[in-house]
């Protein structure tokens, strides 16, 4: 498969791994944060920790939109969908995320009209084929998915579609990175920068990380070779004592981002003064709400929203894991009360959640390293 196979080529991967071993100072411990949940998933899926030297520690960042969404938002949206005239439409990875009284999927089994869509335009289609119902699309994601929600809002307006609205949970990545850097218990050497988000916002918004915080950041793709190459680029900078923004994912990410997407977002969204993030608390200007000119398609304006605030179960340490302070397996509930089948926190649900990735691909593996080395 083009654009995939060449980035999974064992020979090239081994070469990059050799280069990493050559560059890494054995007397130094490197703490690199992959911001994006997609990277976390890829690191576990391709078993990349097995090819990295032990003094390179990858810290999982906050870039999993499902994971950082506080439970109250799900409760709010589900309370709107209790209305039998409302169809709740969301991406598949939202379906098993627990609300206080169960996930959207559990609500569906109890009779709520819950539909999985693969894009917001599918939700528009749903609204057109169900004119007697109201379709509420549960929008979630960083700048990666916000443009498609923006275009969908524009389309709903231009087509005069009145039985459709968006429950907007879009968040922005830069304030989250700032919150991580402001956190006193976090010492990082550099960032593996978000790939898909950067296709929209470009690389410039990261420049303060290099200039003010003196940390290198490399915008990175999602294949094994992308990740290893980005680590090579970070180590090269660290070895020279540099801190720059570099773009490893040039085949997809333009330095200036996607102007058309940013324009659509500016027209349809406004910054919220503040928004609550799981684990990181309230962060100012970190999320998007729907622009006043699109109020008719804003579920939060159209329906009564209870504004539910729920604290995470006390024993669950999602926040610490999200900030990278704890590894998934260090959480008291990991693998016992909290599993992909019976998730307590969203990090165990989304494929981009570090707990789910760790549980699915890595858990139980530690005990078997010897078996891998044993003769066949």
């Amino acid at each position: 498969m083009k654009y995939v196979d060449e980035f999974r080529d064992p020979e090239l991967i081994n070469k990059a791994a050799d280069e990493i071993r050559r560059l890494a100072d054995p007397n130094r411990h490197y703490r690199l944060m992959e911001v994006c949940g997609g990277h976390t998933h890829a690191i576990y899926r391709f078993g990349l920790k097995d090819v990295l030297p032990p003094n390179i520690e990858l810290i999982h960042g906050p870039g999993c939109p499902v994971c950082v969404l506080p439970m109250g938002r799900i409760d709010d949206a589900l309370s709107i969908a209790e209305n039998p005239d409302v169809i709740f439409a969301a991406f598949g990875d939202m379906m098993r995320v627990p609300g206080t009284n169960g996930s959207p999927l559990e609500h569906k089994a109890r009779g709520m009209d819950v539909r999985i869509v693969y894009s917001p335009s599918d939700a528009i289609k749903l609204a057109k084929t169900n004119p007697q119902k109201h379709v509420m699309f549960f929008a979630i994601g960083f700048e990666t998915t916000a443009p498609s929600t923006a275009l969908t809002l524009q389309r709903a307006k231009s087509e005069g579609l009145h039985n459709f609205s968006v429950f907007c949970n879009h968040v922005t990545i830069i304030p989250a990175i700032r919150a991580i850097l402001d956190s006193p218990d976090m010492r990082l050497d550099g960032f593996i920068g978000p790939g898909h988000v950067s296709t929209v916002i470009g690389c410039r918004p990261y420049e303060w990380i290099a200039q003010n915080e003196h940390k290198p950041i490399v915008v990175c793709g999602f294949e094994p070779l992308d990740l290893l190459q980005s680590i090579v680029m970070l180590l090269t900078q660290l070895q020279k004592g540099e801190a720059r923004v570099e773009n490893q994912y040039k085949r997809v990410v333009p330095w200036e981002g996607n102007r058309a997407a940013l324009k659509a977002m500016a027209e349809t969204f406004q910054l919220r003064p503040y928004f609550e993030w799981r684990g990181l608390g309230f962060i100012s200007q970190s999320a998007l709400r729907i622009h006043e000119q699109y109020a008719e398609w804003d579920a939060e304006q159209r329906f009564h929203v209870p504004g539910i605030r729920v604290t995470d179960p006390k024993a669950a340490q999602c926040g610490e894991v999200l900030k990278g302070v704890l590894k998934p397996a260090q959480c008291k509930l990991f693998g016992r009360e909290c599993t992909p089948e019976n998730p307590v926190g969203a990090l165990m649900v989304s494929s981009e959640g570090s707990c789910a990735a760790y549980f699915n691909y890595e858990h139980r593996k530690n005990a078997l390293v010897t078996s891998l080395n044993a003769p066949a």
Partner: protein, 352 residues
């Protein structure tokens, strides 16, 4: 799934305590297993079942009989490469085949929704007759029920199959040993992804067909070539190869190591899986089978498979090791590895 009944024990120990049935309970993954082992097995098989196979092998008045049953609720009814009728015959034929039996006879139950067009039913009955002829099985009888319009999605089919155990092979997960090889008959994921695309919800197109077919000719070839060396067989339908191999790992208490680069997957399936974030190892198949063969007979089994029409793409995809006990580990050529678990939840409901 079918197991051998042992009656006469006291009150069954019910471990299934979930408040309601979810789609995942029918998806063939972990939730299905909890339901079968936690609610059905305690009542039907007296608590401690034999490892649950694809068909039960019974002795009735001295005659050896293999029996299995399966229901089909696929949506849409017709898809590239097949239809519900064809699936209903091949699915049951394959459950018999991988239990180590020659499929002989099928009985059919139809649940029809009032309002179903006769030409739709006609086409499916014809598809069943054709599939039965191709698989060399007889359709011996059946039953028909009709429910009110809106109470069923066009039609559901249940087929029950009877077969004759093949002499000289014993399919039992408990006979699997470290060093045994894992063979796969051909490319995976075709059926699941075909159905997904055929629903037209994704605005994606691909040149794919369901792989629905009888796997009995291939099973027979392996049995003839490797007879006593054949330890275990399974057709990886719902939940895919990963779920079947996890069941094996749990039942035999050993580890299954898969060589990722050896698992055949068509580009169209890989592409769709990449886009949708699915793992081809979790996608359903309707015309492939997995077998575990003793190491000294594995090459002979592979050769026999590859020489059977439809088995040309067969590969050795992995092997059994002591560890990771009870788990499936996928390894890559560059030395990375990951655990692959059973399917959790149900990304693609109603695929068969």
């Amino acid at each position: 799934m079918t197991g051998e009944a042992k009656l006469g024990s006291s009150a069954p120990k019910i471990r299934f305590r979930e408040p309601q049935i979810e789609m995942a309970h029918g998806a063939g993954g972990k939730a299905s297993r909890r339901l079968v082992e936690g609610l059905f097995a305690p009542f039907f098989f007296g608590g401690s079942p034999e490892p649950l196979g694809d068909a039960a092998h019974l002795e009735i008045n001295g005659a050896q009989i293999a029996v299995t049953t399966d229901s089909f609720v696929v949506n849409p009814l017709v898809f590239p490469g097949g239809s519900i009728g064809e699936l209903a015959v091949n699915g049951t034929v394959n459950d018999l085949a991988v239990s180590g039996a020659r499929p002989e006879t099928i009985v059919v139950t139809l649940i029809l929704e009032a309002g179903l067009r006769t030409e739709v039913l006609h086409a499916e009955i014809q598809a069943m007759a054709n599939a039965a002829q191709e698989a060399d099985v007889r359709i011996a009888g059946g039953d028909t029920k009709v429910v009110e319009h809106g109470k069923a999605d066009s039609m559901y089919i249940t087929t029950t199959g009877l077969g004759a155990p093949l002499p000289g092979i014993q399919v039992d997960s408990r006979s699997v040993r470290p060093g045994d090889k894992v063979l796969l008959s051909g490319p995976i994921g075709d059926h699941g992804i075909t159905i997904l695309l055929a629903r037209g919800e994704l605005d994606m197109e691909g040149d794919l067909r369901s792989d629905t077919r009888s796997v009995f000719p291939m099973v027979r070839a392996v049995a003839q070539a490797a007879g006593p060396g054949v330890r275990w067989m399974r057709d990886p339908t719902r939940g895919g190869v990963a779920t079947s191999l996890n069941e094996l790992a749990r039942d035999c208490g050993l580890g299954v190591i898969l060589f990722e680069d050896s698992v055949p997957v068509r580009d169209a399936v890989r592409g769709a899986c990449e886009l949708l974030g699915l793992d081809p190892l979790h996608i359903a198949n309707e015309g492939q089978f997995l077998t575990v063969v003793a190491p000294d007979l594995a090459d002979a089994a592979l050769k026999a498979l590859q020489e059977t029409p439809g088995g040309e793409a067969a590969r050795i995809i992995g092997e059994i090791r002591e560890r990771p006990a009870g788990s499936v580990l996928v390894t890559t050529l560059y030395g990375g590895s990951r655990i692959v678990d059973m399917l959790v939840g149900d990304p693609l409901p109603r695929i068969c």
